[in-house]
Amino acid sequence: MASVTLDNITKRYEDTVAVNDMNLEIRDGEFLTLVGPSGCGKSTTMETVAGLTIPTEGSVHIGDREVTDLPPKDRGISMVFQNIALFPHMDVYDNISFGLRLRKYDQTEIEERVERAADVVQLEGMMDRMPEEMSGGQRQRVAIARAIVREPEVFLMDEPLANLDAELRVHMRTQLQRLHRELDTTIVYVTHDQAQAMTMSDRVAVIDGGALQQVAPPLTCYNEPDNLFVAGFIGSPAMNFMEGAATDDGFESRYVDVPFDPAENGIEPDQSLTVGVRPEDVYLERDQELAAEPSRTYDAIVDVLEPMGDEMFVYLLLDEDVEASAEGRGAGQLLVSLDPDTVIGEGEEIEVVFDRSNIHVFDSDTGEAITHRLR
């Protein structure tokens, strides 16, 4: 067990900057997820911790040790890879014991440890199988056993579930959480899937363009996103955004205006603003008592219904002349998540309200959040 500290890490390739001045402290025993879109630098960040990439600038500490220039084998880490990366020429036992054999542990201890690790991931009786004879999930479990058998100080997991099918992914997600509880080790987890980040982590580090956007517990990222990127990235389906400007008595945009007192919310008149409302914070006018703090009503026309079973996504048009864009998320459109039993028909004219206690206001120019609850 150890903490991991990244100080001013920058990684530059010839003309691109993969990671830009990253400062991140991963606490001892924490499950921290690095999440962001493809190519945002999250994998490079993890590779600098693993030692597979040497940062251009900055330093990496694991525990109290500076490891910036140490090779991966001397860092006390283990890693699970996206492509699983079992050694195809070795059976399960040899794969799991590879690291121990390299470190010259004695035979009985190796056997004991391998058995224990195999037990944790439920691999009993498969010790002499070759990787090619196993299913994706089994291989992934072998990879995890190989990582835990050395009892490292830090686990690194680079999209370990990306190559599994959906059902297995959900199953392995709970397995990993259980594993974290049992091992009580620091885990750094990389994924582009915000659902995995939300469900498993103690804290989530949202990365975009090689820079850290927000590091916080999942629900904080969800409820109080620091900026527009985090607000749009965390949560599925994504938040509704409306671009407009502040006036003397609130927010005004082409289709939606939200009255509030600018001074009380720390907003200057004429400031250009983006207002964000999550689909689940929009209610039908007739159900407005469900909202903690209902806003004024807005007219809308039901465009498309998407019943999901446990909830129903309703795409609304805020005006008759709005042209529905292909993704259904353009200006003048609103995505609402409603109870699946709601009686509503396509083309119907309805009225909706927002929950003012969950209206997010961002500065359009900087992208920074101004408030997450209108006063």
């Binding site: 991966p72 283990s78 996206q82 492509n83 590879f98 690291g99 390299l102």
Partner: protein, 329 residues
């Protein structure tokens, strides 16, 4: 004539084909060749199979017939060498296979060649593995230039190197005096396997580079995280996974060095104790007044055995190495 025609007509598959074609397209009246061609066009598999057999038989005859002929010459008694026919020996005398070892220490010549080839193969595989790793898996400035340099050296005719190397190896070097009796490399195995290893290195580098570059990065990363150095990852993971490529490079090097004559004959004085190679031994059966063709043939067959055994053992790997190459993850 008419008998033959009738026979052929009854059994020849092409006629059957023609009959089948006639059923399909009754308005066409095709000859035998035409029917055969139509059949080939409608079923290309058949044409491929026929071409395959023709090519295989041609290849087998051209490669194996010389061995058959060598064997016939070898078992013919010396006096009857004139009686060797195209397919029949002039007599039977298996004693030639024993006589080759009695007349000169042919086993020593073979051992020399075998040892030189083995050392050269091991050297080439180790150096080419490191070079192949660097060229195949690392990106660095000047990579293409270096690779071009390797390629260019492999284009030089080996004979161009001979005179400078011969001068060099004949020079007495004082530092070598304690290790080598004369202080020069002439008449030592070093004089043979050093230039040969260098000359056959580029081919192996190219073979191994191709194989090593196809091993997924994740496997090397995994090995390094698990506790190997880069070189450890190379020899514990990348090389074993490239076994077909390594076997191919190794066998090609072994065979070429084992068969090599130019350098090995000129870098020694031809005495078995001075590391003269197997070919030098075969030529020793050629005296001033007579040429013992039967012994030369017998020695040639014996000399082929180590390589034949090696190829049979490594065959599976070599075949997959030459055809496929690479590893699916």
């Amino acid at each position: 004539m008419s008998d033959v025609d009738a026979d052929a007509g009854a059994e020849h598959p092409d006629v059957a084909a023609q009959a089948a074609a006639t059923v399909d397209e009754p308005e066409l009246d095709r000859g035998i060749v035409e029917g055969w061609a139509a059949r080939m066009i409608s079923n290309p598999e058949r044409a491929y199979r026929a071409a395959f057999y023709v090519a295989t038989v041609f290849f087998l005859v051209t490669t194996l017939f010389p061995f058959y002929w060598l064997f016939m010459v070898a078992i013919t008694p010396r006096g009857s060498l004139r009686d060797v026919g195209v397919f029949t020996p002039g007599g039977v005398n298996l004693a030639a296979f024993i006589e080759i070892f009695q007349r000169i220490p042919f086993h020593r010549y073979m051992f020399n060649s075998f040892l030189i080839a083995t050392v050269a193969t091991v050297t080439v595989l180790i150096v080419a593995s490191l070079a192949g790793y660097v060229f195949g898996r690392l990106r660095f400035r000047g990579r293409n230039l270096l690779l071009l340099g390797v390629l260019v050296t492999s284009f030089f005719p080996p004979a161009a190197f001979f005179i400078p190397l011969n001068r060099l190896f004949n020079a007495n070097v004082d530092v070598l005096r304690p290790i080598l009796s004369a202080g020069s490399l002439y008449n030592t195995p070093f004089a043979i396997f050093i230039p040969l290893s260098a000359i056959y290195l580029p081919l192996s580098i190219f073979i191994l580079m191709t194989f090593y570059s196809q091993i997924p990065d994740g496997l090397e990363d995994a090995a390094r995280v698990e506790g190997t150095t880069r070189i450890g990852a190379l020899f514990r993971v990348i090389v074993p996974l490239s076994a077909p490529g390594v076997a191919t490079a190794g066998v090609l090097t072994f065979i070429t060095v084992y068969n090599e004559y130019f350098f090995s004959s000129l870098m020694t004085n031809g005495r078995p104790g001075n590391w003269a190679p197997m070919l030098e031994g075969i030529l020793r059966y050629q005296g001033q007044f007579e040429v013992l063709f039967n012994l030369m043939a017998a020695a040639s067959i014996v000399a082929v055995l180590p390589v034949a055994i090696l190829v049979v053992v490594a065959q599976e790997k070599i075949v997959s190495g030459l055809t496929a190459g690479g590893l699916k993850e």
